[in-house]
């Protein structure tokens, strides 16, 4: 969808020439989010701004959907690319509705259509159109303004979006919320997105592909998990951090590390059934579920080996359970805070789905290193 070929930008400054972007080749597929990552001054923003010609390349080519962007008038090109900046840049003299409708108006959309679109987009980010359409930017909080900044870029439904540290100026709590909202929107919108960030955690969370820059050169471009598991050189390894394997926890869902088909017992089951289930399955604990199949407790092999009676006489309560749709970071955090080495996992309905162990997690993460 977006293809860069030997893209280069050299700035002439009084102190000599500076190569901001140096022969960058890369490709972003349709519907992908590609995060451009690197320390400040690495050329990631210049690289982004060349795509909508805010910066004119010194040499090299940019293709969008197979078409050379040199062939477009820059103004026309920009109207067909969504653009979001860190400072948001809502025009204070225009209402929220007018701000959102800027590009549709310039493209000559029917007024009714663009106004309806503005209302629809506000609903998409959970802002009530009746309340917000007629307001001015200064009457909105920072988080609300940034949401409007994003939907303004989406107003004319461009296939490609460029985002320059779009969530950089928002406090950490709101940032997480907006990132999640944005990812949810992206699941249905499937825009092709180039996204500049200097935050490795944000990149790992948002990206289908991460492109790491240093001194204008593209150092590595791969999936977040691949980047964290196999950094191409020591610069990247340093940049992604010594705790990079821990960062991978966020990329793996509990369901992927969970042992499925694990047995369960009920409160009425005889202890002998529980012991047999543990022996058959090879795990020293078995989960006790209630009549709605929700995990309620567990029995440990050592506690019940030679005991008699129903499970209800011997079980211990579960300190915590984890939703199988969560990522491993949540699971590990729960294990640490409850001082346990395994957790019962639940599905969307709260039913017992399997269990996850610390060994299972380390094994799963370690596997990629042996490949």
């Amino acid at each position: 969808m977006i293809k860069l070929e030997k893209l280069t930008k050299i700035f002439d400054t009084p102190g000599g020439t500076i190569t901001a972007v140096d022969h960058v080749d890369m490709e972003v597929g349709e519907g992908e989010i590609c995060v451009l990552l690197g320390p400040s001054g690495c050329g990631k923003t210049t690289n982004l701004k060349m795509i909508n010609r805010l910066v004119v390349p010194t040499s090299g080519k940019i293709f969008i959907d197979g078409k050379d962007t040199d062939d477009y008038d820059p103004v026309e090109l920009r109207r067909n690319i969504g653009y979001v900046i860190q400072q948001i840049g809502l025009f204070p003299n225009k209402t929220i509705e007018e701000n959102i409708c800027i590009v549709p108006d310039m493209l000559g959309w029917d007024r009714k259509k663009s106004r309806a679109r503005a209302a629809e987009l506000l609903e998409l980010v959970a802002l009530d159109p009746a309340l917000f359409l007629t307001r001015f930017p200064k009457e909105l909080s920072g988080g609300q303004q940034q949401r409007v900044g994003v939907i303004r870029a989406l107003a004319a439904d461009p296939p490609v979006m460029l985002m320059d540290e779009p969530f950089g100026a928002i406090d950490p709590i709101n940032r997480e919320v907006i990132q999640d909202e944005f990812l949810k929107m992206q699941q249905t919108l499937r825009k092709t997105i180039m996204f500049v960030s200097h935050d490795i955690d944000e990149a790992v969370k948002m990206a289908d592909k991460v492109a790491i820059f240093r001194d204008g050169k593209l150092e590595q471009c791969s999936s977040p998990d691949d980047l964290l598991a196999h950094p191409a050189n020591s610069f990247i390894a340093d940049f992604v951090g010594g705790d990079r394997t821990l960062k991978r926890l966020r990329l793996v869902k509990v369901s992927e590390a969970m042992s499925k088909g694990a047995p369960s017992v009920t409160a009425e089951s005889p202890v002998a059934d529980a012991v047999k289930a543990m022996e058959d399955h090879g795990h020293a604990n078995v989960v006790m579920v209630d009549e709605r199949k929700r995990p309620r407790g567990f029995v440990h092999m050592n506690d019940v080996r030679d005991k008699k009676g129903p499970v209800s006489d011997h079980y211990e309560a579960l300190e915590a359970t984890v939703d199988a749709r969560e990522d491993l970071r949540t699971a590990v955090s729960l294990m640490f805070s409850n001082d346990v080495t395994w957790l019962a996992c639940t599905d969307a309905d709260g039913k017992y789905a399997g269990y996850i162990t610390q060994r299972g997690i380390t094994h799963l993460l370690g596997e990629t290193y042996n490949q």
Binding site: L54, V75, R78, I85, Q87, L90, P92, N93, L162
Partner: protein
């Protein structure tokens, strides 16, 4: 006793005061109107180049330091060639020149101070330079430009009073006659009228400034 005489003079000459006020307003409004039409585009144009901006502002500053009476004197021989050495035309030209500095400087400053992020957002969304000016930069610059216009108007109501000496009429005619005839009644009438006119003009322009300022920018 004196005070009553002055008041009596004012009452007796209300018609004349009105007439000269209109002349006064006509000179200032025509000249400042023309100054807006020239000064605002110049102020916008010079934001493109720092050196040109410095030169233009320097020249405008020099003009404003020339005493008005000297400026009128300078214009007499020049404008005499078209038979307009004294009267309405040189008065308008003087006010036009004096208004340039506040209007150009305020326009330049206001446009230059528009948040660069807004300019980048506007460019990135595909606005042409003209659209950026009309939709973003000028609306945001209006309060500061209007402040320049107010300065120009109030200052030039005073300058216009002196234009009575070159036969331009206006409220200055009371003052010049008052001095020539040592007539305190005319002198005070002229001075008070000019002051009241300046105050009213300032309030009117303040109100206009408020009306022209975009709703979302008001504090």
């Amino acid at each position: 006793m004196r005070r009553l005489e002055i008041l009596q003079y004012m009452i007796d000459n209300l018609g004349l005061i009105g007439e000269r006020t209109l002349q006064h307003v006509s000179i200032v409004s025509v000249a400042v109107g023309l100054a807006i039409l020239t000064g605002v585009p110049i102020g916008i144009a010079i934001t493109r180049n720092r050196q040109v901006a410095d030169a233009v502002l320097y020249v405008a500053s020099i003009i404003i330091t020339v005493p008005s009476i000297a400026l009128f004197g300078l214009m007499i021989p020049i404008l005499s060639t078209i038979g307009q050495g004294i009267g309405y035309l040189p008065a308008v030209i003087a006010v036009l020149l004096y208004s340039q500095l506040p209007i150009i400087r305020n326009t330049y400053t206001a446009i230059n101070n528009v948040d660069p992020a807004l300019r980048e957002a506007a460019r990135g969304m595909g606005m042409t330079p003209g659209q950026r000016l009309r939709q973003v930069e000028i609306p945001l610059a209006i309060p500061v430009i209007m402040a320049g216009v107010r300065t120009a108007v109030v200052m030039n109501i005073g300058v216009t009073a002196i234009a009575a000496y070159i036969g331009a009429g206006g409220l200055g005619a009371f003052i010049s006659a008052g001095i020539a005839d040592t007539d305190v009644r005319q002198l005070v009438t002229g001075a008070v009228s000019v002051s009241i006119l300046a105050i009213i003009a300032d309030f009117f322009l303040l109100w206009l400034q408020g009306r022209l300022t975009p709703l979302g920018v008001k504090t």
